[in-house]
């Protein structure tokens, strides 16, 4: 039981880590392009958008690397789930305001935002984070209940 949960948890964590690492590195390497994407949401003043441009990709990369280490997985998962949730709210807000944006999720590779697709994709990522978090918690809980060999 623990073995199967651990296998699913590890597989999901590695998939999510690869995804966030790819997305984070693209934005990390192209801050100017990412700044225009952030500004396209019309949610933040310029100074804050500037900070987000540098901080968000760094946090994505750090948490993605953390996902690969079981010891840090819970925290990394929580951070990435939080980032995805915030992004979902920003996307919903942009959609409601009828903005024509480039989502900036994977650098400049996505030209125009297809809102239903983007929201669906991020809900899937959020679900992935949630499942990984829950499975990690379950594995730790099961281990804690195992009898210790004397």
């Amino acid at each position: 039981m623990v073995g199967r949960a651990k296998l699913v948890e590890t597989s999901l964590a590695w998939i999510l880590a690869g995804l966030f690492l790819y997305a984070g590195i693209l934005k990390f390497l192209q801050p100017a392009a990412f700044l225009t994407d952030v500004q396209g949401f019309h949610l933040l003043p310029h100074a804050l958008a500037y900070c987000v441009t540098y901080y968000l990709p760094a946090l994505e990369i750090t948490a993605a690397v953390g996902l690969c280490a079981p010891r840090f997985r819970l925290e990394a998962c929580a951070i990435l789930a939080f980032l995805t949730l915030v992004f979902l709210i920003a996307l919903g807000s942009a959609w409601m305001r009828g903005l024509d944006i480039s989502c900036g999720c994977f650098g400049k590779s996505e030209i125009k935002a297809n809102y239903p697709f983007l929201i669906g994709r991020n809900l899937l990522i959020l679900a992935g984070c949630g499942i990984t978090f829950a499975l990690r918690g379950k594995v730790l809980w099961m281990r804690s209940r195992m009898p210790v060999a004397k």
């Binding site: 990390f28 801050p31 100017a32 392009a33 700044l35 225009t36 994407d37 500004q39 396209g40 019309h42 310029h46 500037y50 441009t53 540098y54 901080y55 990709p57 760094a58 946090l59 990369i61 750090t62 948490a63 953390g66 840090f72 819970l74 925290e75 990394a76 929580a78 951070i79 009828g98 903005l99 024509d100 944006i101 480039s102 900036g104 030209i111 125009k112």
Partner: protein, 139 residues
């Protein structure tokens, strides 16, 4: 879940972000993104000697709420209906400058590309920063 580990991630990301900022600040300001192919900045349009035909690629609603003086509406939704008025307004020697709402919108590029493909008019450019750049230039 450990609060200390969470804080560790947040601090480590901050250090990475600072490093990236330092590296990029040495090259060029992040806000001044280079012009892409076919783009022009507002000061260059305004200082140009050629007369300009402004094309607003935003929605009809946005166009109605505010536009560059003299701009004509041309968007993808009503392309066939709006194109004749553009062709009728254009005179030889005029530079066509297409704009949309901001830096990140892409409709101006799509409209400019479609104009180049469908109508044989010379000198079609895209305004860098779009309507936002125009508004900023007015302040």
């Amino acid at each position: 879940m450990s609060v200390w580990r969470l804080a560790g991630f947040i601090i480590l990301a901050g250090i990475f972000a600072l490093g990236n900022y330092t590296l990029n600040a040495g090259s060029r300001p992040v806000a001044e993104e280079a012009l892409q192919e076919g783009e022009i900045r507002l000061p260059d349009v305004l200082s140009s000697r050629n007369p300009v035909l402004w094309i607003d690629a935003r929605s009809e609603k946005e166009y109605a709420s505010g536009r560059i003086p003299g701009a004509l509406l041309l968007n993808e939704e009503n392309w066939d209906h709006l194109l004749p008025s553009i062709l009728g307004a254009w005179t030889p020697g005029q530079t066509i400058v297409v704009y949309c709402s901001s830096h990140s919108c892409q409709t101006s590029r799509r409209v400019a590309d479609r104009l180049r493909a469908e109508v044989d008019l010379p000198g079609i450019l895209i305004l860098k920063g779009g309507w936002e750049a125009w508004l900023a230039g007015q302040n």
